[in-house]
Subunit: 481 residues, 2 copies
């Protein structure tokens, strides 16, 4: 770091000079929201100042809202609070619903494949945000070395090197998993499907968050399952009181939830709730399908715990993948289905027989060599900042009365607009302007949330993104005219 010349030694105190340099790093995006600022000791060494001066510098930064202290962890670049309110928890109908979202999902993905369309629709990270060069290089190297194993079936449960890496990572999230409890899958999509097939029969009722990921709803629809929507709080996740009431009156075959950074709300279920959720379901021997695809993309310093960590009866079927956090196109995910291990492993044979071998091996190597951890550190800080930036732009551009979530992980925002805005119409209008968004009705089996949209923040900030958000806001305002 270059020292700027001290033109006027008396006008600015030394601590402020240090603080201003750090502030500049934050402003220029070198240090990003959620990222840890150097320790006091390093700041003192780097700038040749005393520890006391370093402390004064941090206080100056904290006073100006640029950093925040976290107990026992040090100082972090402050994640700015959005100026909009959070959406309220929806009062979802208690009725059981047949599901029809397949057509909406196809429509969204077809729009995503059009050239020049800005990809705010799918919860898919932009390739330029992914370590594509490194990962493709590892795959190339693995492919050259693999020989026989590269072309051979990697029959379920899938390659052991990857299952071992997965088990190691899961230990950081408060659950104990052995490699032999893990089955690799073609993305979390296959994992969720296999779990649902293992524990339901056509007509079964599955409790889901509301709003919930349309892929889940589409899976239910294709298996002729019925959904019961559980109201879900934008910050704390599934409402356990509401779930308890449902369980008392209904036969529920399974509960499917995303406790860590739900989709589309980005809600993070508190640990106490995770534990309670697992216990409530265990009392009735109901399996919990836990989808953790966003778990590694926490904006705060700590990886949130898994509901699986509270599982004493083998009823939690944990699904995850590397599609949100590493390489969607590699199609590598995994599932730890607890007591349903044998069923899931056998069903995998009917679904795809095996997961593609070389992509599995490449990801295992990326994990084993620390590349994944290194990449994730940067990705978390990036998403923390980008989500905030998009939320602020929404605040500036969208109609009065708009609410937006404050996710603490992942990279999607849920935007609730005034009731007269029609998200399906907005989707069409936006697409005509080459912007793809996911309309609220995709996230509910009975096509509610008509005034909501989900925005992906997996696209780097750019003038085009900024303009697109302004366009969306203007279009929405016209619905009120």
């Amino acid at each position: 770091m270059s020292r700027t010349p001290r033109t006027d030694a008396t006008s600015t105190p030394l601590y402020q000079e240090v603080a201003e340099k750090i502030a500049r790093l934050i402003e220029e995006g070198v240090l990003r929201p959620g990222e840890r600022v150097s320790s006091l000791r390093r700041v003192s060494e780097q700038h040749g100042v005393s520890l006391t001066t370093a402390i004064q510098a941090f206080i100056w930064l904290e006073d100006r809202g640029l950093v925040e202290a976290r107990p026992k962890s040090g100082f972090f670049v402050r994640v700015p609070r959005p100026v909009l309110k959070e959406p309220m928890m929806a009062r979802t109908p208690r009725a059981v619903s047949e599901v029809t979202v397949g057509a909406l999902q196809s429509r969204l993905f077809e729009a995503a494949m059009l050239p020049r369309v800005l990809a705010l629709g799918g919860a898919v990270p932009s390739p330029e945000l992914l370590p594509m060069v490194k990962l493709n290089r590892i795959l190339a190297s693995v492919a050259r070395r693999a020989g026989k194993s590269g072309v051979s079936y990697d029959m379920p449960p899938g390659t052991e090197v990857l299952r071992r890496e997965v088990a190691k990572r899961v230990m950081n999230s408060g659950a104990m998993l052995l490699p032999q409890e893990v089955i690799t899958t073609c993305g979390a999509t296959e994992g969720l499907m296999l779990c649902l097939r293992a524990v339901t029969v056509p007509g079964s009722v599955v409790a889901v968050e509301s709003p919930t990921y349309f892929g889940v709803l589409h899976a239910l629809e294709s298996l002729k399952l019925r959904a019961i929507e559980i109201p879900t709080h934008p910050r704390d996740g599934m409402d356990l009181e509401a779930l308890a009431r449902v369980l008392k009156t209904r036969q529920v075959a399974a509960c499917l939830a995303v406790p860590n950074f739900s989709n589309p709300l980005g809600a993070l279920m508190p640990d106490a709730n995770k534990e309670r959720l697992v216990r409530m379901l265990a009392e009735r021997d109901i399996p919990l399908i836990e989808d953790d695809v966003f778990g590694e993309l926490h904006h705060g310093p700590h990886r949130p715990r898994l509901a699986k960590g509270y599982d004493e009866k083998g009823l939690v079927m944990l699904c995850s993948s590397f599609s949100k956090s590493l390489a969607p196109g590699y199609r590598v995910g995994w599932v730890a289905p607890g007591r349903y291990y044998e069923q899931v492993k056998t069903l995998k044979l009917t679904s795809t027989l095996a997961t593609a071998t070389l992509p599995e091996l490449a990801i295992a190597e990326f994990l084993a060599t620390g590349g994944y951890d290194h990449y994730l550190r940067g990705a978390r800080a990036f998403y923390a900042g980008n989500v905030q930036r998009v939320a602020q732009a929404v605040a500036a551009a969208f109609p009065e009365g708009t609410r937006v979530t404050q996710p603490q992980g992942g990279f999607v925002l849920w935007v609730e607009m005034p009731p007269r805005v029609d998200a399906l119409r907005l989707q069409d209008e936006a697409l005509a302007r080459e912007i793809n968004i996911a309309p609220g009705p995709m996230f509910s089996p009975n096509q509610g949330y008509r005034n909501c949209i989900r925005l992906s923040c997996g696209v780097p900030w750019s003038p085009r993104l900024q303009e697109a958000l302004q366009i969306l806001g203007s279009l929405a305002k016209r619905h009120l005219a």
Copy 2:
């Protein structure tokens, strides 16, 4: 080719000397059953003899049963006829069956993963028979070049370069297919599953060959479908008279067949039957799911036609893959689902969302550059010879009264032993001797075919394979004692 010195010029006519050299190439396996012998002109040039002498040499070889002439194609190494009779067509029960083969399939694959086990169980080519070095090298190169596209989702219908290559190949088999009619899948397994899901509901009845591939039965089982077994001739495939009778009395949701080299029988349905099959089903608007995974592995000179070529109503759902003929571990297959295109494409989203991008691109490149055709030429000749060799070893080692199929393509043999042989017991006994086989009951929803086994000839000939077949024969004989 080195010339042996002519020690005694007068004792052997020149043509016989030439013929004996060619005979040695055949005996030593340099020229393999089904492979084309050099043209008359080339033989005459290579050996410095007249065309007449070359013709005499071929007549000498033909007289001794070493080569056979094929009209307009030249001389080919004769595929020896096996000494055993073919199995007879089974009289399969007309009842509709609930299916339970999942456990048997898991057992087979688990045995296959044990170290040192000789892989005669799965219909999986040995990796050393596959162009693994070339293909892995192409994947490595594609991965280095791919950049963004390598890590990105390749959403259904899948990458266009591969769909175009598929459409081009299909033209060689008497069907017209456009790239936009093709959807890539994670192997044919996913393709079959998507087709079944598109055209059935739980409880639907599906007409299948008997015996039939256990993967199909397992898929039916997992979808809660019911099978009706149609007797299938070891040489001509599904018995259309029997199918006609079933169609008159039963509501059938779909028919699933492998007209080209069925599994396990290796039957090749005559073209006239293919046409009739398609028409019969079309009259009732019943979809035909045509599985063509073995179609490229014909032992004769011509690629057999597809039933899809007779499809006028879009009712034929054609599934295939590169798993039998190129790279099982790449998990790349495809489906051309006719009028069910939209349903299959949408269901693919719920199953795996997308096929792994880079394996698709690598296979497309291998096809486009002619590597696949080159590889297939050798593979066909190899399998033709190896299947014969295994059949002959079975004839020598197995109990009297054993029958074996005479497949004209693919690489599996169906062995029908005397009624008192118990294939499930034989499977256990063989596994104790480190030999994996597929017992007959796996190929029927009601676990018939107890005295039959399927042997894969996807393992190169070796003393160990020869010994294994002797062991199997001895074990089977003991069942009769």
